[in-house]
Symmetry: C2
Subunit: 401 residues, 2 copies
Amino acid sequence: MVVCSIMALIIQKYGGTSIGDLQKVDAVATRIIQAKKLGNKIVVVVSAMAGETRRLDNLAKQITPQCNPRELDALLVAGEQMSVALLAIALINKGCPAVSLSGSQLGIITDSNHNAAQILKIDPSNILQVLDSGKICVVAGFQGVDANGNTTTLGFEGSDTTAVALAAALQADECQIYTDVPGIHTGDPKIIPQARQLENINIQQMLELSGLGAQILHHTSVAIAEKHKVPLKVLSSATGDGTVINHDNGNNYNFSVISGIACNKKQMLVTAKNINYKLSNNIISQISARDITIDMLTLEQSALVFAVDSLFKAKINNIYNDFLVTDGLAKISVVGSNLRSDAKIINTIFATLDSLEIEIKICSTSEMRISILIDTIYLEQAVNAIHGAFNLAELEEIITA
Amino acid sequence: MVVCSIMALIIQKYGGTSIGDLQKVDAVATRIIQAKKLGNKIVVVVSAMAGETRRLDNLAKQITPQCNPRELDALLVAGEQMSVALLAIALINKGCPAVSLSGSQLGIITDSNHNAAQILKIDPSNILQVLDSGKICVVAGFQGVDANGNTTTLGFEGSDTTAVALAAALQADECQIYTDVPGIHTGDPKIIPQARQLENINIQQMLELSGLGAQILHHTSVAIAEKHKVPLKVLSSATGDGTVINHDNGNNYNFSVISGIACNKKQMLVTAKNINYKLSNNIISQISARDITIDMLTLEQSALVFAVDSLFKAKINNIYNDFLVTDGLAKISVVGSNLRSDAKIINTIFATLDSLEIEIKICSTSEMRISILIDTIYLEQAVNAIHGAFNLAELEEIITA
């Protein structure tokens, strides 16, 4: 694509709370027009207005909890269809020509895995036509169509995925994800009051964080951004401040960097004792076949141990009769780069929790994160203590040289 | 199309009040399944749930009363998109396979006249594919796409048009329009308590009635049904009873038949006195250019006289300074066939109103209707008296031999 030298192509994504009512839609329209007036081409991706997707989902679930997946998708996309049209009406009303696109107009072709479809292909011709006519293109997030024209959705928070995938397909100069929290923090500000906003974060670390329950960016969207090197920013829809996600390879540094702390509540620790290789293989293949996501898997002294979301309790218990299950746990993950090579970091975590007499049920380490499981009741105390021990509220990311 | 001899293709259309809540959606699903179990192929056309289109329209109008027409269409179609998906979920939940289609999936191609688009072409391949797989096809009414894939809507009550146009394109054996009133009556039951339900009505008379404010069927849909000889029924969604609209040519009879009485409130009588041929031509061409619908036009003794909906008051006053405008009138139309040739009918109307001392402001007659304008305050009294004078509550349509 040829981009005029002074004109950037910018993707802006606004979530449901950013356009939660008509007043907020108006504020978002004003922000978009500011970016447009700087001479940029703008594609805006929007979610459904806050609460709308839940309202539609509730209607369907009142008929049956086991909705037909195709029809549930056909129902849910109406939420985004409304919000793109309303935002386009608001933009046009402010004198700024705009065109909304949704459904098959988007050119987003997915597989047929309803409710959690994967994008296969993007035909950006409709979007480019709108941009070339000098108008703002307002795009419905979360949705696509399969090869047969059936409506599909990209799963929870799929609008992030829409934005990043379009940024990749259009080779956008910048993909801006606007949220109601001001950028990426060293931890969840609701749990850790001292959490500090990061000015920068490495994409690999963002990938770990988004996979660990840090609900800022949809994990799939970060993976697409990493693969296609999409220039990504997470910004506050109130202030416009936020975090730049960079594509430098953190592993080039020979010191450890901690970016932040992620938490997952409602975790279970599952142990199968006295098992052999064949049985453990069988258990793992059954877990995989049932689409259960597990974490922190270890196999030691004839025992298979892993962490799993409590959501999967019933499914897990069906696999093997003799599982020992400890429920009511929380996972704390310290995310950064070069972590495994630095024993000081593990030591700091252990010493901090030991001083609080909080028991670590299990610990696992990798290049980019150290995760532990503890009792959920200690979660708040533990993450704040770890956040403080690494001085994350103060330091500019470099922990040990 | 080849239809198996024992299997009929039936189009059923349900309006917003018929599917006003999930309980009603459930009842409609039950009725559809009954028809399916008789061995029929079923296409169901649905409107948005009652109040939904108004809710969406209000949201847009809160931003600006002058909405961009394309974006208003993109917004409004979400209403039908929700109702088709919910009905499909309800059908599937009752064990009856169903597929919803909306937007570009429908194959309904219109012109680009947003908010009041005309159907240009129907590609029924998606619908036929659903039917051939033995499933019920649930179709979003009111909407189409133009040649460039932009979403369009067919105007007020456009779902009737969708149903009849699909019936024509699919050569359906029957098109059933379900409403919350039991079929076509000799007059509006809300105004005329004695109004009788008609078992049959001729399509030309239905065309007159629907063009005269009888809000049972969208006028465009009746016109399409007449042109393509669509077998049409208007049925109560509560009881399944209703009126058959037949395609016999009423003019073959040499006696007068009255089918019913239609009313239009909020009419104005407009008079331009002392005008010449050139000026009257100029006025009429300006009326046409402004898309104003007029009725009962007469040109007599240098005076141009016509009736027009009060809606157009501002537009009318812009055309000619010296119009004499009488507002607050109502139009009563007696609709039937062979009416002009029978002076008894006109005489009955005049004598009835004269006995009540109700002044007739203007009267016009045609082959299929006699219309009069009176003060709106006398409307109820007048229509009930005329309905009684023609004994419409009792007689089986034939008035004079």
